[in-house]
Symmetry: C2
Subunit: 328 residues, 2 copies
């Protein structure tokens, strides 16, 4: 069943059921059925006994067909799996990963069990961009950080390019706008000792998500909040996948590393690193080419490969470490 | 059903069915049933209408119960899953990996689809030791090589300790005896950008495998061939898991690294490295603490993170590179 009545409704004014029935040569009951089908797809249609029907709002769905056609990529997005809802796009991607091609994409309108790093949950309502890309780079396991680096700069470049937003990268894998998290990246790897079988790059981007809906303890922000209006998530997905392809095809490049440093939100800040071995506080002095954070401590510079990074405001700094740069 | 008749047979001489039936207070048909049950477990029992039954050979099975009891470990082998046959122990381990404890072991008498590195098949007949250990080390992804290093030294130490065999480590993950492969290690990792979820260390050790059964193109050797007699695979598994625990609990230690260098079969050899980027021939000059092979080429020393390593005999060396150490 097509939906011939949609063109009538798109005018935005009231149309009587009778008029649509006559023009389409169908019964009024059939018109009612089509209205119901449109509503199920997310069209918000008002109805009135006297005036008929009126389209109030079109659904804000990702158009995977349009995305596929518009994409100017060779690898990323060759195959796109689109779902209205999944547990998590990374979990769905993992099921595809062994048999699918490099660059396969999984995208969903919403995730029931969106995941962040370290098994944390990730709030994933409709309106966000929840997308996972399966990559099969021919790099050694020890170079896996390059994938994360490529994905981080791709997200930041996309936001800058599309909306002129200054997005920064919080080590190791969040994207911030105005010091609040707009995007998280969850990379999952399957590998042998010297070979990566596949990497799943999960990107959760708060696009058209109302700020009032974030969990109250989240220092999060959305594009909707930053820009004041909704964006086309189809356009957003297209640019993001194109930037990701650029960064991926030049994986390990000087450009990716330099942008990763240039766009860092962490560099130069006092930070607290929470890791297996306890907490460390110091100055984020530099980022090394192999993805490590070089942390300036009293008397030494420590190489940090793993851990949670908290940017400290002045009031959060421990008094005993406050002046550490003078201790050396 | 117990197997009371086994103690009669263990003497090794002929015992009549009637005698066993009488002594056990069971029918001769029940004796026959017990014989059949023993045969199904791998006991080789001769029968003769006149003389009765005679035990010719006991089965060479791993005794998982005895192994569990004998193990002096805290982590490795706390849980042991034993199977007569699996697809591959690594595949079985992967299904357990998310929910099981650190140190869980999967062991099988035979693998239908044993796997080597780079998706190669691994010949896994009965008599070998096919074992996978699920480890959950609290190390960064960039330190994953430490797991491989620990497993390699554990295997070499075990063979030296139990049998006085000089076993060496071929970079990155084979164990050699007399320059022939006695053991392969297949490490598979699941990880996030800075955290290892789990590592599966698959160890395939040619224990009681007749050399004539190896695929003809394999430069392989077995303990049976080297020692001239069968070993107890239960004892072997015990020592191996104990050595693995030692090496695992001191993961990243100087001892592991130094043994890894000291036991190297590759150091000082001319080698060919086959990798994504093509072949390289040079001198294996040193092994770095982060698992890389430092390859001496004319004019430079290249850091090799990944690739197949072939030890060259003099006749295999390319004439143009033969004298490269004089070229510098």
């Amino acid at each position: 069943m097509g939906n011939g009545i949609l063109s009538y409704l798109k005018g935005g004014s009231w149309v009587s059921g009778e008029e649509m029935a006559n023009s389409q040569g169908i019964s009024r009951a059939a018109v009612w059925k089509q209205i119901q089908a449109l509503r199920a797809k997310g069209y918000y249609i008002e109805s009135s006994t006297n005036k008929g029907y009126r389209l109030v709002r079109e659904p804000d769905l990702l158009d995977a067909g349009a995305l596929r056609q518009a994409l100017k990529t060779k690898v990323v997005g060759r195959d796109i799996y689109y779902y209205p809802e999944v547990g998590s796009t990374n979990d769905t991607a993992r099921k595809l990963a062994w048999s699918c091609d490099d660059g396969t994409v999984v995208v969903a309108e919403t995730q029931r069990e969106g995941k962040g790093r370290l098994s944390r949950s990730w709030y994933s309502p409709p309106g966000g961009l929840w997308i996972s890309v399966i990559l099969k780079p021919r790099i050694a396991l020890a170079q896996a950080y390059r994938i994360n680096m490529a994905a981080s700069v791709a997200v930041a470049r996309t936001l800058s390019f599309l909306y002129g937003i200054k997005a920064t990268i919080k080590w190791p894998n969040d994207i911030l706008v105005n010091d609040r998290k707009i995007c998280g990246i969850l990379m999952e790897i399957s590998a042998e000792v010297d070979r990566i079988d596949y990497a799943i790059v999960g990107i959760g981007l708060n696009a058209n998500v109302a700020a009032k809906n974030f969990p109250t303890d989240w220092k999060a922000i959305s594009l909707l909040e930053e820009l004041g209006s909704k964006v086309s998530r189809t356009d957003l997905a297209q640019s993001l996948l194109e930037e990701l392809e650029n960064a991926y095809l030049s994986i390990g490049s000087k450009e990716n590393y330099e942008d990763w440093c240039r766009l860092s939100a962490t560099l130069g800040k006092r930070v607290r690193i929470a890791s297996h071995d306890g907490d460390l506080e110091g100055l984020a002095e530099s980022l090394s080419e192999d993805g490590a954070l070089m942390l300036r401590l009293p008397g030494e510079t420590r190489r940090i490969l793993a851990g949670d990074c908290i940017h400290l405001s002045l009031s959060e700094q421990r008094p005993d470490q406050d002046q550490s740069s003078n201790h050396v």
